[in-house]
């Protein structure tokens, strides 16, 4: 291969993945520079590892009752104590960690995909489509917090998948709004006009040029929303509208804790601490990332 050819292929290669690669590289660089994003990130990785590997390492059955040892305080045998059926709470929390995080992740991924598509369409095409979509998002936003999820669960059966759908719908307007704003800002950049003049299709412009540019705010929002989703999901289970017994979902464990508050305070303590740890990790990660990516902060 002569140098001329090499140059050609080089150009081709960089052209192909440049916007994506640049965007991700840029993102990674900023991530590493921000301490709290890094701490949050490590915490998230540790929690994920525990959630995946943990259930294989615990020797006890999270669901099998043993009434001989019910409502025992934390001890060397049962680190977090036992519940009213004599089940080991530590084992249940380890299993529940996975369920709670799974719900949070899946709901956020589903909701963000829908929100991103809606937001891009709204911001990119503008006009009447934009007006109608955004009005509809306003309507969804009129149901604060857990209310929309609760209303949806009220007509669906309380189950894991329905909790995921309910939270995903609750996620859509938040993502749509942010993505629409970023899309609008990117769309008006000069090079996008140039791309259009060169005859690039909308799909190409969106996937190659707009999406990489709005990736960072989406990741920040996703991290913060997972925190929200975890609280909402465990809240729904706590109310009996989500995971049903004997599922060890963390919110459901808290619900047990409430019923046995008088006899065994420890039941509620640990599941709640673990929920807080998950939410904290994603909040710290999302906060740090936002600071790192915010140009206003970078200047200082």
């Amino acid at each position: 291969m002569n140098t001329e050819q090499m140059k050609q292929t080089n150009i081709k290669a960089t052209k192909k993945d440049r916007p994506w690669k640049r965007s991700l590289k840029d993102f990674y660089k900023k991530l590493v520079k921000n301490k709290s994003a890094l701490i949050g990130g490590y915490l998230i990785i540790i929690l994920i590892i525990i959630a995946i590997v943990g259930p294989f390492l615990t020797t006890l059955d999270p669901a099998k009752p043993d009434y001989a040892i019910k409502l025992e305080e934390p001890s060397a045998d049962h680190w977090f104590g036992t519940d009213h059926h004599g089940r080991d709470i530590f084992t249940r929390v380890i299993h529940g960690l996975w369920i709670t995080m799974f719900i949070g992740f899946t709901a956020t991924i589903l909701g963000s995909i829908a929100g991103v598509i809606i937001g891009i369409v709204s911001g990119y095409y503008g006009g009447k489509i934009d007006a109608v979509i955004m009005r509809f998002m306003d309507i969804l936003l009129a149901f604060p917090g857990i209310l929309l999820a609760l209303a949806l669960i009220s007509i669906l059966e309380p189950s894991r998948s329905n909790v995921i759908y309910a939270i995903a719908i609750f996620a859509i307007p938040t993502f749509a709004r942010i993505v629409r704003g970023s899309t609008l800002a990117t769309k008006n950049l000069e090079y996008i006009d140039a791309m259009k003049a060169l005859g690039a299709s909308d799909l190409r412009i969106i996937s190659k040029h707009i999406f990489p540019n709005i990736l960072s705010p989406i990741i920040v929002q996703a991290s913060l929303f997972i925190a929200n989703a975890v609280i909402t999901a465990s809240g729904l289970s706590f109310l009996g509208m989500g995971e049903q017994p004997p599922s060890p979902e963390l919110g459901a464990l808290l619900s047990d804790g409430r019923d046995f508050m008088w006899d065994a305070g420890h039941i509620a303590l640990f599941p709640g601490l673990v929920i807080m740890l998950i939410v904290l990790a994603f909040n710290v990660f999302g906060d740090g990332l936002r600071d790192a990516l915010d140009p206003k902060m970078n200047k200082k």
Binding site: L147, L239, M261, A268, V279, L280, N283
Partner: protein, 306 residues
């Protein structure tokens, strides 16, 4: 200003219609025949038909929606399927309890959040600042129903200082308000801090110092008033989450408010009550946001260059 309010009110109409359509659809997406649920499993066919006719369940959907909307405007939400009482009659007392809870919690969170945020901003990077921001981060990350349980365990069960359940007496109010208001306080504290820091670096703060004003006057008269403007928006949003969060807090402390009623009736499949509760919370939230929007515009009027 008047024009702005009128314009915002007009913009509200499609949102309110949308909200009512969604709430109305909830009932119609429900699996099962409402008449059957009301009459019970073993009711004869005639009874069911009779109920269907009385409720207008055989009318075309748009007609049904129109009736629903007309009644809702008159605060008539039909009859409970479980107690056969008018829904508005069942809801009214509980609505006030929830509103009280939300208002007290909002006041608590504004009070605590503002003070903490100002201290943090004025002493940026001090131990107090780091401490407050750390506490705020935890406050933001705690599920409030768990926090409520922990408070109840300590202050009611272990120490016996405060009653664990109920609503009404000053002692009963303390724990639920702390439970519900803490997250809002954390959000407001963080917002106040960043807003204050933004303002403190402005040129007019330097001008105020150059005039020979005391640092206290500079902070409270010149910085705070400007810094509060963005915080107002957050307070509005917080009120919404508080209304929704009341569902959990009321369940934890067994408070007979609208939130707990809603949860009970979802489990009992009593849809008119659920529908009305969801609708009322959403509408209150929409109007609170309107008020926030107007006050934001009012406060911001002088800053806008146009």
């Amino acid at each position: 200003m008047f024009q702005f309010i009128v314009r915002r009110l007009i913009q509200l109409i499609p949102v309110l219609l949308g909200v009512t359509i969604i709430v109305f659809s909830l009932m119609h997406l429900t699996p099962g025949n409402p008449a059957q649920i009301i009459a019970g499993e073993s009711a004869p066919k005639e009874t069911i038909e009779q109920i269907e006719n009385r409720l207008g369940l055989n009318d075309p959907i748009p007609v049904q929606y129109f009736h629903f909307l007309k009644d809702a405007v008159m605060l008539d939400f039909g009859t409970s399927w479980r107690t056969s009482l008018p829904v508005s009659q069942e809801l009214a007392p509980k609505f006030w309890v929830t509103l009280e809870l939300a208002v007290y919690s909002t006041i608590f969170s504004i009070f605590l959040g503002l003070i903490a945020g100002i201290i943090s901003a004025v002493r940026q990077y001090s131990i107090a600042d780091v401490g407050i921001m750390l506490v705020a981060l935890f406050g933001l990350s705690m599920p409030n129903f768990w926090f409520g349980l922990m408070l109840m365990q300590w202050f009611s069960l272990q120490l016996g200082w405060l009653p664990p359940t109920g609503w009404g007496s000053p002692q009963q109010i303390i724990l639920p308000v702390i439970t519900l208001g803490t997250m809002g306080a954390a959000v407001i504290a963080r917002m106040t801090r960043s807003s204050m820091l933004d303002v403190i670096s402005q040129d007019y703060i330097r001008t105020a110092r150059a005039k020979g004003l005391k640092e206290r006057v500079v902070i409270y008269r010149h910085a705070l008033k400007n810094a509060l403007i963005p915080v107002v928006t957050v307070i509005g949003l917080q009120f919404g989450s508080l209304l929704a969060g009341a569902v959990l807090t009321e369940t934890v402390f067994a408070i007979n408010g609208m939130g707990k009623l809603m949860v009970d009736r979802i489990l009992a499949r009593d849809f008119p009550v659920v529908q009305a509760s969801v609708l009322i919370i959403a509408v209150v939230f929409v109007f609170v946001n309107l008020i926030v929007d107007i006050s934001y515009k009012f406060l911001n009027k002088r800053i806008n260059m146009d």
